[in-house]
């Protein structure tokens, strides 16, 4: 009997080992058939590819894939081809750390960090002692890069976005009286609101009404809409994600005047797909972004065309962030002359990159400051506001 049990246990061990072996990340980059596997540079990315927030992760992944393809076609990084593996985290921090470990075992040398702030924070902390540069395309929460001097980002950070939004309203003389709707149990939303409030004070903008909602109450906005309508303002700042925004806008349709703007930040990306059943729901939505697909700049146009050809979709800001991130990693690795995290981190602070999301320079804390514009949606198409 004992013998039987030990046999079964042994068999189980062998099987679990086999399962581990089968679990190596699938690579999506194209390695040149002629070069040996050892000569590729392995690049890893982590983000939600399934689940509620899959649209953000898929955008980043596709943007990054496109950049990898272009770089490989042009000869790679210092003659070495890039091999990209993008892992699904479902936006969950725990899964992201596991994915990070898996990528390290695979031999990752360049890291696109994670897509979301929460997962980025956890991975940044876990990677503190690894000699690897983490460049998150889209993790925008203020404090997530702290405690690891090899962590950087492509997007701008939340408090900067809130301030930018207030400045934008002032610069374009949209209005001097606004209202706010934000999600009070979500860091991203609260962070943007706080900095927006401070920005409004500096710019002399009055916040006439502040309404909130929570994860548990994000299906019914009736009472909030009543109050926001009563506030009688020309602009409502909505620093929230696309899904609750779609619910809010659907219920708000027809209740506000035709000249009332709904002003949001990067979280609104993907709103058009959420209201696909009636695109006019998103009319008058203004979105603050460093990237606009209909910008006339040549590099943006080339990127948009290539992306449309590859994925049959118009790239959003997350795709642009992913695309830029790959080029930034390439530039940093070439400047540093190695893929050592410490050397690349030093190179990052000396770089100046002209990407599709604007002109970027980095400070040692990992943040970048770049210009933003606002896109306005009308009948399902976005165009640069004021042009």
């Amino acid at each position: 009997m004992k013998k039987l049990i030990s046999l079964v246990l042994a068999a189980m061990m062998v099987m679990s080992l086999a399962a581990c072996g089968g679990d190596t990340p699938a690579s999506t980059g194209k390695a040149d058939a002629g070069t040996k596997a050892a000569e590729t540079i392995k690049m890893g990315g982590i983000g939600p590819l399934t689940g509620d927030y899959a649209n953000y992760g898929i955008s980043v992944k596709q943007g990054a894939e496109l950049a990898v393809k272009e770089i490989n076609a042009a000869g790679g990084i210092a003659g070495q081809q890039i091999e990209l593996s993008f892992q699904d985290s479902q936006g969950d921090a725990e899964s992201a750390v596991n994915a990070y470990g898996k990528l390290l075992d695979w031999g990752m040398k360049l890291s696109l960090g994670c897509v979301f702030s929460g997962e980025t924070a956890t991975v940044v902390a876990a990677a503190k002692d690894d000699d690897i540069l983490l460049l998150t395309p889209s993790g925008s929460s203020d404090n997530i890069l702290q405690g690891n001097d090899k962590a950087f980002r492509v997007c701008f950070n939340d408090s900067y976005q809130g301030t930018m939004a207030a400045n934008y309203i002032k610069e374009h003389a949209i209005t001097d009286k606004v209202a706010v709707l934000y999600q009070s149990d979500y860091d991203y939303s609260v962070g943007l609101y706080e900095s927006f409030k401070a920005g409004c004070e500096t710019n002399g903008i009055t916040i006439a009404e502040v309404q909130t909602f929570t994860e548990g109450t994000k299906t019914d906005f009736t009472t909030q809409i009543n109050k926001l309508v009563a506030a009688d303002v020309k602009l409502i700042f909505i620093p929230i994600y696309a899904e609750p925004a779609s619910t809010f806008l659907t219920q708000a349709k027809g209740k506000f005047g035709d000249d009332v703007y709904f002003f949001g930040a990067d979280g609104l990306d993907g709103i058009m797909e959420k209201v696909a059943q009636d695109v006019t729901i998103a009319d008058n939505v203004l979105m603050l972004t460093p990237f606009a697909a209909d910008s006339q700049e040549a590099d943006v146009q080339a990127f948009v065309k290539a992306y449309q050809a590859a994925y049959n979709a118009t790239p959003d800001q997350f795709a642009a962030d992913g695309y830029d991130a790959v080029y930034i990693l390439k530039a940093a690795a070439e400047k540093a002359g190695s893929t050592s995290g410490a050397a690349m981190a030093k190179a990052m602070t000396e770089l100046e990159i002209d990407g599709v999301t604007g002109n970027m320079k980095w400070t040692a804390d990992g943040n970048t400051q770049k210009n933003a514009m606002a896109i306005i949606y009308k009948n399902g198409t976005g165009s640069v506001f004021g042009e």
Binding site: D185, T212, D220, T223, Q224, N226, S246
Partner: protein, 292 residues
């Protein structure tokens, strides 16, 4: 004042949906003496049935409504037949766990079939809003109120005036004695599930037309709130479920308007605790002497 009336109206609309769901909870509890926690998810199934019928299959509105009701009724009867009936003699704890399991089963099936992304419920009923003295009321809210009132009246008549209703009351009062009097307990319980689930389908239509977006977890929160409403009004009592649902909806919207959305749920449940402390059987519940 205008704000108060607007809040009251949206509270009545939300409360009506709670009341429709609570009716199903309370009837099943009253007659089968079990808490059917899968009831909230029947609403979600009804909503997806509406999406499939109208958006995917292109059926006219009348058939869409009919199909939603038919799908939910069938689902309710099937759940009762295959999940709860075999446990008729088992302890109430086993039945409760089965109900929770059934709830997760339905949610995960919907997740597999429809995915986790929200889907828009087709707005096949378009009603003009009514403006009265500066207050605009959505047509859909009025429709919800009207439908709920009609169902309330219909259910009262059915329970109190028909033979089947009498049978249901008899089973609720004493299952053993009812069986001895020649009432088929199994059929009565199946009928209760059918009616409760059909009401859930009506709730799903009102919910879809009012709040638009549907996800696999859509039924969970309204289900819990409606269960609370049923307890609040006195579980087992049909007028109690209506009163509890409406009261809960109004309290929730008032709390959101005048205090904070952050506190709305806390206040709703605090009121429930308060009511249960003062009247342990709920607002309309009857004091029943437990037979030992």
């Amino acid at each position: 004042m205008i704000e108060f009336i607007k809040t009251l109206i949206s509270g009545l609309g939300l409360g009506s949906i709670y009341a429709l769901i609570a009716l199903g909870y309370t009837m099943v509890y009253g007659i089968a003496k079990m808490l059917n926690f899968a009831h909230g998810d029947v609403i979600m199934v009804g909503a997806y049935a509406g999406i499939v019928a109208f958006t995917s299959a292109g059926l006219p509105p009348v058939f869409t409504v009919f199909l939603s009701v038919a799908a939910c009724t069938l689902l309710g009867v099937l759940i009762e037949r295959f999940a709860y009936k075999p446990l008729r003699g088992a302890s109430s704890l086993s039945v409760l766990i089965t109900a929770i399991g059934m709830s997760y089963l339905l949610q995960n099936l919907a997740l597999m079939i429809f995915g986790s992304q929200q889907q828009a419920y087709p707005q096949y009923v378009k009603l003009p809003s009514v403006t009265l003295g500066g207050i605009t009321i959505d047509g859909i809210t009025l429709l919800t109120l009207g439908v709920t009132a009609l169902i309330m009246i219909g259910m009262s008549l059915f329970i109190n005036r028909t033979r089947l209703g009498k049978a249901m009351r008899a089973v609720a009062e004493d299952r053993g004695a009812a069986e001895l009097m020649g009432i088929s307990v199994d059929k009565t319980i199946a009928l209760t599930f059918a009616i409760g689930s059909a009401l859930a389908a009506v709730a799903s239509i009102c919910y879809g037309l009012t709040y638009v977006y549907i996800k696999p977890t859509t039924g969970a929160m309204p289900g819990i709130k409606a269960f609370t409403a049923a307890v609040f009004g006195g579980i087992g009592s049909i007028p109690g479920a209506m009163l509890g649902g409406i009261a809960l909806g109004v309290i929730e919207q008032m709390a959101k308007t005048y205090i904070s959305p952050l506190w709305a749920d806390a206040i709703v449940f605090a009121v429930l605790v308060l009511v249960l402390v003062i009247r342990p059987t709920g607002l309309m519940g009857k004091e029943v002497q437990e037979k030992v």
